[in-house]
């Protein structure tokens, strides 16, 4: 589905953002514009500057240089009026362990002049059964849902989520995605950081790939993947394995990676390469053990852009 950028005013706008910690340039001239109603993802490896960027936008960290505008005001003149319109979930927030879910939510609700009924937020995040449980007794997924509940209880226009699902099991991750999707459906704007491709591709309207404190690619997930010369991946195993020189000579192959007995080819078009691969295997007398194809992901894009994998970069 083609993406139409919203014409409404920007929820977040920043230009030439810079921040150093000692000799380390965490953020190095980063530009960003997030439209209202959009779910925007900052994607990048650990240490790429995602958290520093989001904390500058949240007004929690001062930038060394650059301009930041959130919901039409700067942190300089916005102050606590601006905070009333934001919901924030920090990376690994540890809420007070001795308090219950209900007590924690009431506390956060008390800070906002207008907000949602804590009762309703508890229900929306499926924390009803745990409302009298202490935070210290919650599972990782429940804690993370509570952190998001605390961000939502002030009925924000803009939600910041810093690695909302890191370390969660697939079930908890899907539950949290559903919460973000509902928030978006009700007209809210989301800025999230992640290093999960799947998360960015599922939730985000647009994604900025960040590396070394800069945006190195920007667009919808589809647009970004389409930028790859070879948007498809062909994985197969043969017995005996085919020689790399033969693989490289196949039509439409941009790259090949051999992982043990299995081989992955980045290809321009499946229709072009698959028949040629089958024919060459036949001619070489090799038996095809397995064959699978998938569309290239943001992960593949990151590898193509930087030569590194997201998780170990």
């Amino acid at each position: 589905m083609p993406y139409h950028p919203p014409v409404r005013e920007a929820a977040i706008r920043c230009r030439g953002l810079r921040k150093s910690y000692g000799d380390v340039r965490a953020v190095d001239g980063l530009d960003l514009e997030v439209a209202r109603g959009e779910c925007f993802g900052l994607l990048g490896p650990n240490g790429a500057g995602k958290t520093t960027t989001i904390e500058i936008l949240e007004g929690l960290t001062g930038a060394d240089g650059g301009e930041v505008e959130v919901l039409g005001s700067t942190w300089h003149d916005g102050g606590s009026r601006l905070r009333e319109r934001l919901g924030i979930s920090l990376q690994e927030t540890q809420l007070a362990e001795k308090l219950t879910v209900e007590e924690t939510l009431l506390l956060f609700r008390s800070f906002y002049p207008q907000g949602r009924d804590p009762e309703e937020v508890v229900a929306a995040l499926s924390l009803g059964e745990k409302r009298h449980a202490r935070v210290g007794k919650l599972s990782g997924g429940q804690r993370q849902r509570l952190a998001v509940a605390c961000a939502l209880v002030g009925d924000p226009e803009l939600l910041f989520l810093d690695e909302p699902t890191t370390g969660l099991d697939p079930q908890s991750r899907r539950e949290l995605w559903a919460v973000v999707e509902r928030f978006k459906a009700s007209g809210g704007t989301v800025l999230l950081t992640t290093h999960y491709m799947e998360e960015a591709e599922r939730l985000c309207d647009r994604v900025a790939i960040v590396d070394h404190g800069r945006v190195i690619a920007l667009g919808t997930p589809d647009e970004l993947v389409a930028r790859l010369h070879a948007p498809h991946v062909l994985e197969f195993q043969t017995d005996p394995p085919l020689p790399p020189s033969l693989l490289r000579s196949l039509p439409g192959v941009a790259e090949e990676h051999v992982n043990g007995s299995s081989t992955a080819l980045a290809v321009r078009s499946l229709a072009e390469t698959v028949p040629a691969l089958l024919a060459s295997a036949d001619a070489a007398g090799a038996r095809l053990v397995s064959l699978a194809t998938h569309r290239a992901t943001l992960e593949d894009l990151f590898v193509a852009l930087t030569g590194r994998h997201l998780r170990d970069a």
């Binding site: 949240e58 007004g59 929690l60 960290t61 606590s80 009026r81 905070r83 009333e84 934001l86 924030i88 920090l90 690994e92 927030t93 540890q94 809420l95 007070a96 001795k98 308090l99 209900e102 007590e103 939510l105 009431l106 506390l107 956060f108 609700r109 008390s110 800070f111 906002y112 002049p113 804590p118 009762e119 508890v122 409302r131 202490r134 605390c150 002030g154």
Partner: protein, 345 residues
């Protein structure tokens, strides 16, 4: 679910609940001072004055001398060989050794206070046995009036010390733990007013304060008969002023520390001088006169002085006004500085 209260009330409520759910903290605030009071009370309980140990060296006349000394209620007399006697004197087991005469010889170390008392008692007993008559026969009136005992001095000091300790440690640890867990950062990411957070910590202190003070004052009264002679209002105001001063100092000390170790070190630097100087266990009148005006400026000195003035000397509010003003200044200045210097992430 109930409706949320104003932020300050929610913050104070939450802090109170957190404290009550922390058994160790309850122990340090409520039980520990009682144990301390019992221990010190036992060590310094009222009892008949000690007899001073003296000895008579064996030899002619030793029996008569020992008999004469035994009549004195202030002496514990033994008879030793001359060698053993000197050895006992040298090692401090006896305060004075009598070598019978005539004339008798008193062996003693005059720099020891009990040796001089022993000399007076021994000489008195031997002179009387030798036939001296006293021209004056003074009456003796022992003073055991409540208020003059060591425990009467000690208990207000312990109360002051406890208010300092629980105030500073309680607030300091809470703040630093919340900082290391990024809870402070999460809170300032909301529209919460920063001063509400700090004020709530101080207010939550007041809840435990009632229990803490009742435990110590009540225990002192029941176990040792340490009464509050002045008005309770004056006592309550002194305690309040002291609590605010130490809560402010606790926040100030914890304003920037990033680790529990860091804040512990700073706490000790701030509190140790006051443990020693502020007249908790002994009067600060023992320090040189030039140092005393400075010692009186310390918050614990002001609190201890105010508590003693009310509890022991029966002064009212007017009598402790300078101390209360000084404590309020400490509270206001430290709270203001803490709010300004506070590191939220």
């Amino acid at each position: 679910m109930r409706r949320p209260m104003p932020p300050l009330a929610e913050l104070a409520l939450v802090r109170t609940k957190e404290f009550v759910r922390e058994p160790e903290a309850v122990f340090w605030v409520l039980v520990f001072p009682l144990i301390l009071a019992v221990g010190l009370g036992l060590a310094f309980r009222s009892r008949p004055p000690d007899r001073i140990p003296v000895a008579v060296a064996e030899g002619p006349g030793a029996g008569a001398a020992a008999a004469a000394l035994s009549r004195s209620p202030a002496l514990a007399v033994s008879t030793l060989s001359p060698g053993d006697g000197r050895e006992a004197l040298r090692t401090g087991r006896i305060a004075l050794l009598v070598e019978p005469g005539p004339p008798p010889t008193y062996r003693l170390d005059p720099t020891r206070p009990d040796a001089r008392a022993a000399r007076l008692e021994v000489d008195d007993a031997l002179q009387r046995a030798a036939g001296r008559t006293d021209p004056l026969r003074p009456r003796e009136e022992p003073v055991t009036e409540p208020g003059a005992r060591y425990i009467d001095f000690l208990l207000p000091g312990l109360l002051g010390l406890n208010l300092m300790g629980t105030g500073m440690w309680g607030l300091g640890f809470t703040v630093v733990t919340a900082r290391t867990k990024k809870l402070l950062k999460r809170l300032v990411a909301t529209p919460m007013r920063k001063r509400d957070y700090l004020l709530a910590l101080v207010l939550a202190r007041l809840v435990f304060l009632v229990a803490e003070v009742t435990a110590l004052v009540g225990f002192g009264w029941l176990a040792f008969g340490v009464a509050v002679r002045g008005p309770f209002v004056a006592l309550a105001l002194a305690i309040l002023a002291g609590t605010f001063a130490f809560a402010g100092l606790g926040l100030l000390v914890a304003a920037r520390a990033r680790t529990v170790e860091g804040v512990s070190g700073l706490m000790n630097v701030v509190m140790l001088p006051m443990w020693l100087l502020s007249g908790t266990f002994f009067s600060y009148e023992r320090f040189p006169e030039a140092a005393r005006p400075w010692i009186r400026l310390l918050p614990l000195t002001a609190l201890n002085d105010a508590l003693r003035a009310v509890m022991t000397e029966g002064h009212g509010l007017g009598g402790v006004l300078p101390e209360l003003v000084l404590l309020c200044v400490w509270a206001a200045v430290s709270f203001g500085l803490a709010l300004r210097l506070f590191r939220w992430s």
